[in-house]
Each structure stands twice: as structure tokens, then as C-alpha cells.
């Protein structure tokens, strides 16, 4: 492969990372504040894709606008889910079996709703943007849709950072992430912040789902591979930090993009190289997940800022 081809792939990987970050960030805030590994995230992603699909096919609303519209709609939806289901869970510093199973059960319900409403055939959102591309030189061509999606994801992430650091709600969230007990002592309303956090997490899931729906075809089982990618990203990012998510997303996107085109070295009576067969590419996120968990359970961020840890 030539250097230009590598550059082409690198650009595509970075664009992908933007969407990945938007996809994982909702999970991170929910985990950080509530210590719930939100398996229903996959369901929300799927609903987000269908949400913009429906808006597009019925009302001819641009999918990008659809994705933005998903934010408030899913925010309310998430708060509702929290109010109906999540708030009953016993509080804990670490994820409980109960929370895992509850969210998993809810995912099953959402998936079923998907099958009941939309059937199990693959859908995709096709706009004029899908097929056109921006050309740089002769070798590099970037589909316009990827660019648009990337821009939307990045803008949203920046907005989230601002909410996180500038608003009352963001401060309460950060307080709860750092020390739930101290936060409540100084008057942070735990229930209310949790509810809004869950809404925020759901909003981002819906938004990211809509963006992903523009890039890939989807079915009601759409969320699962992305759920696992979200895990990888937030684990790489150290589970609780929003900026870590961006880092994790970039690492995953680059590894996925390059895994099948870069010759890998291996030793068998001398050094050889081989290419990973494309059919094995889906293994990458899962294998990476296990490897990362085992080697650096604190995530990439943990390598940079080791905090004081008391006995």
C-alpha cells in the first residue's frame, strides 16, 4: 500500500472515531453517575436509527436534522425510562447484577418492539449525500455523509463538554461521579441528577444511533456490535471520563480500520507477515476489550494520571 492510501484510511478512521465517541459518551455518563452498565444502550441506538429513518421516509426530514431532533425526544424518553424502571434499583458503588439484568431485560423489550414495528429486514437511509464524495487529489475520496456525520458528532461532543463544565447540572454530575456521598452532603439532588443523566445518556444514544443509521444499514439487532464497541471505548477511556472517550474512540477506530490492511508479523521458523482475513475483523473490538481490561483496567487515561489511592 502507498502512503496516500494509508492517509486515506487514516482520515476515514478519524471520521469514524467521531461517531464512535458520540456513541460511547452516553454510556460513560450513565456509568459515571449511576454506576450502571447500561446494556439498554444498544436498544436506544437502534431506536435512534429508526427514529431518523421514520422522519426521513415519512416527512422527508433530512437525517442530520433527524439526529438533532432525536436529542430532545430521547432525553425525555430516557427520563421516562429512569422514572419507570431505573430508579427502583438499589444504589451501589459498583454495578450490581440487578442493574445489569434490568437494563438487559429492557434491551430485549426494545429489540422486540423494533421487530414488531419494523420487521427484521435491513433498512438504510439513502440520501444524495450517501453516494457523493469529496475528492482530495486523485487517491483520496471521502464520502460526504461521513464528513457530515463527523461534524455533527464533534459539535455535539463539544456542547456536552460545555454542559459538563459550565452548567449547574454538569457540576452536579461531576460531583456525583467523583464522590456520591460528599455530593449529596453538599446538597446535590441525587435522584434528579440521575434522572437527567439517564436522559442525557439516552439522548446521546438516540443521536448516535441516528448518525450510525446514515452510515450503515440497520435492523432491530443493530445495537449489539456497537454496544460492544462502546464498552471497548469507555474501558479504554477509563469508564468515567468524557475526554477519555474521545481517546478510546480514536484507538478503536484506527485499529479496526487498519487491522486487515497492515501486515502483521508472526514467527514460524523465522519472521513472516500475514494479513488478518477480513472475516476475522469483527473479533478486533472484542479481543481488544479483553486485552485492555486485563492489561490496564484503569484505561488509557489511567496510564497518564495515576491518582492518589488510599488504603
Amino acid at each position: 500500500m502507498t502512503a496516500v492510501e494509508y492517509l486515506d484510511l487514516l482520515i476515514k478512521a478519524l471520521l469514524l472515531a467521531g461517531v464512535y465517541a458520540a456513541m460511547a459518551v452516553g454510556m460513560t455518563v450513565v456509568y459515571g453517575v449511576m454506576k450502571i452498565v447500561n446494556l439498554a444502550h444498544a436498544g436506544f441506538l437502534m431506536l435512534g436509527a429508526y427514529f431518523s429513518f421514520e422522519l426521513f421516509t415519512r416527512f422527508h426530514i433530512d437525517p442530520i436534522l433527524g439526529a438533532v431532533l432525536a436529542l430532545p425526544v430521547f432525553f425525555v424518553f430516557g427520563m421516562l425510562v429512569h422514572w419507570v424502571l431505573v430508579r427502583w434499583l438499589p444504589k451501589s458503588d459498583t454495578p450490581t447484577l440487578a442493574s445489569l439484568l434490568l437494563m438487559f431485560g429492557f434491551w430485549l423489550v426494545l429489540q422486540n418492539v423494533g421487530y414488531a414495528v419494523w420487521g427484521n429486514e435491513d433498512q438504510s437511509i439513502l440520501t444524495p449525500r450517501t453516494l457523493s464524495a469529496v475528492h482530495i487529489g486523485d487517491e483520496i475520496s471521502i464520502p460526504k455523509v461521513n464528513l457530515v456525520v463527523f461534524a455533527a458528532a464533534v459539535v455535539c461532543m463539544i456542547l456536552l463538554e460545555i454542559v459538563f463544565h459550565r452548567s449547574w447540572f454538569g457540576r452536579s454530575m461531576r460531583a456525583l461521579i467523583q464522590n456520591p456521598y460528599a455530593a449529596q452532603i453538599v446538597g446535590v439532588d441525587d435522584q434528579r441528577t440521575s434522572r437527567m443523566t439517564f436522559g442525557l445518556g439516552t439522548a446521546f444514544a438516540g443521536f448516535a444511533g441516528a448518525l450510525l443509521g446514515m452510515l450503515y444499514s440497520f435492523s432491530p439487532d443493530f445495537g449489539r456490535p456497537f454496544l460492544l464497541r462502546s464498552f471497548v471505548i469507555i474501558v479504554l477511556g477509563g469508564l468515567e471520563s468524557v475526554s477519555g472517550v474521545a481517546l478510546g474512540a480514536i484507538v478503536l477506530a484506527i485499529l479496526e480500520t487498519f487491522s486487515t490492511v497492515v501486515p502483521l508479523p508472526w514467527y514460524w521458523h523465522g519472521w513472516h507477515t500475514f494479513y488478518l482475513p477480513p472475516s476475522y475483523q469483527p473479533v478486533i473490538p472484542f479481543a481488544l476489550l479483553v486485552v485492555v481490561l486485563v492489561i490496564m483496567p484503569k484505561g488509557l487515561a489511567g496510564l497518564f494520571n495515576r491518582k492518589w489511592k488510599t488504603a
Partner: protein, 248 residues
């Protein structure tokens, strides 16, 4: 003959040194107290010796054999057991079962359940919890939970027992019975390392006392020597203060 030799033990958390080159010997069959202001590194010292944390430097030797950085479970099998400042009973088990775990997996490694029950009852009798053997551990009072913690550690049949603030939050009578218990444990041939903030308790029971401050060894000696040591008084009360009753 010393049972434990600690040599230049150091532990960093991030960039902060919780222990700085602490060295001391523990003679066999004595009760050795460890005191120091909050954050002096006492609990960290215990955690590093018993394998809950890996030391950043230095060595720990048990009977002349290197045990530095060994995990808790192996250390228990070699006869080093500890209690925690914050009690951690298995709340969903009965008091007897709590202790039974220690008998099965401690130094004696008893296999037969009936034997294990007998040994466990023995430990419970020693701390005075035998009446409550069949109750669920979560219903015990704090004092009882502290005694359960001691009973569990004892049931592992340790040669060296590390006790971390077993009197915090206890009443005067409970504290006195705990001190009696320490003497009995020592008479049974177990060496004790003992952290306590309760000055009266620790001064009355210990043969020797080591004072830690800011992760370093400040002084070492018999209780009355420590009580009159200038640097110790300074560490506890600050400079230019008249000596008064040490704080609890």
C-alpha cells in the same frame, strides 16, 4: 528471636510516599503496638505486610524467609493474619460460618466440617460470641462485629496477628475485655502487632511501641519510654505545648 523483620519498607501511592524506609523487628511472643497521628501510615504498613498492597521497596521477612509482596491468602497459610479497622463480616452467613471459613482455609487447613465447627466454636468462645454462633452476622452490634473479626483472624491459627483498631467505637468495659483477650492470645503463643488510637488501651497492653509519623518511624521502645519521648509528644501535640493526656 524475632518473628518478623521489616527492612526499609517503602510504599508510594501515586507520587506520595505513605511509607518511607520503615525498618523494625518484631520479637516472638510479644504485643507490639503501633501508634501515630492520622495518616501516619499505620494501616498502610499492615496492608503492605499482609499483601493487600505490593510494596514499592524494601523487604519483609517471616522467620528469616522473604515474604515481600506475597498475596494475603498465602500469608494466612504461613501464619500471618490481620483484622481490618472497618469490619468486613460476611453478612449473609452465620457467625459460626464466618469463622468456619477461616478454620478451613487458615494455617490448619481443616477439611472435615465437624472438626472445623469445633475449632470455630473454640475461637468464638474465646471472644465471647459462642452464644451468637447461629445468628446471621449482619445482626451483630459493632462491638460484636469487631470481636467476630478477631475470632476469624484467630481461627486461621496465626503465629503473627495484626490487629487494626479493634477498640475503636467500643465501650470501656468492652475495651477492657478486649485487652484481656489480647493477653490470652499472646499466652497461646501468638505474636501480636496492634494499631490503636485508644492510648490507655495500647499503653496498658503492649510490651513495645513503635511510633510512626508521616510514613516514617519516629520512635520505638517500652510504653513508658514512648510516653516521655519529646519527639512523640511533639508529633501528637505540636511544639511548645504542655504535655497533657494524649488524645483518644
Amino acid at each position: 528471636m524475632s518473628i518478623l523483620e521489616v527492612e526499609k519498607l517503602t510504599k508510594f501511592f501515586g507520587g506520595v510516599a505513605a511509607l518511607k524506609e520503615v525498618s523494625f523487628d518484631i520479637p516472638e511472643n510479644q504485643i507490639c503496638g503501633f501508634i501515630g497521628p492520622n495518616g501516619a501510615g499505620k494501616t498502610t504498613l499492615f496492608s503492605v505486610i499482609t499483601g493487600a498492597h505490593r510494596p514499592s521497596g524494601g523487604t519483609v521477612q517471616l522467620h528469616g524467609k522473604d515474604i515481600t509482596g506475597m498475596d494475603s491468602a498465602s500469608l494466612v497459610k504461613r501464619g500471618v493474619a490481620r483484622t481490618h479497622q472497618v469490619v468486613r463480616p460476611f453478612k449473609a452467613m452465620t457467625v459460626l460460618e464466618n469463622v468456619q471459613v477461616a478454620v478451613h482455609y487458615g494455617r490448619r487447613a481443616v477439611t472435615r466440617t465437624s472438626h472445623a465447627r469445633e475449632h470455630a466454636m473454640e475461637a468464638l468462645r474465646l471472644v465471647g460470641l459462642d452464644q451468637k454462633a447461629n445468628q446471621i452476622a449482619s445482626v451483630l452490634s459493632l462491638g460484636e462485629q469487631k470481636r467476630l473479626e478477631v475470632a476469624r483472624a484467630l481461627a486461621t491459627a496465626p503465629e503473627l496477628l495484626l490487629l487494626d483498631e479493634i477498640c475503636g467505637g467500643l465501650t470501656g468495659a468492652e475495651t477492657r475485655s478486649m485487652m484481656d483477650l489480647l493477653h490470652r492470645i499472646r499466652e497461646g503463643g501468638t505474636t501480636i502487632m496492634y494499631i490503636e488510637h485508644e492510648m490507655k488501651a495500647i499503653m496498658s497492653v503492649c510490651d513495645r511501641i513503635t511510633v510512626l509519623n508521616f510514613g516514617q518511624k519516629l520512635a520505638e521502645g517500652k510504653p513508658d519510654e514512648i510516653q516521655n519521648d519529646e519527639s512523640v509528644i511533639e508529633a501528637y501535640l505540636g511544639k511548645n505545648t504542655f504535655r497533657s493526656a494524649p488524645r483518644a
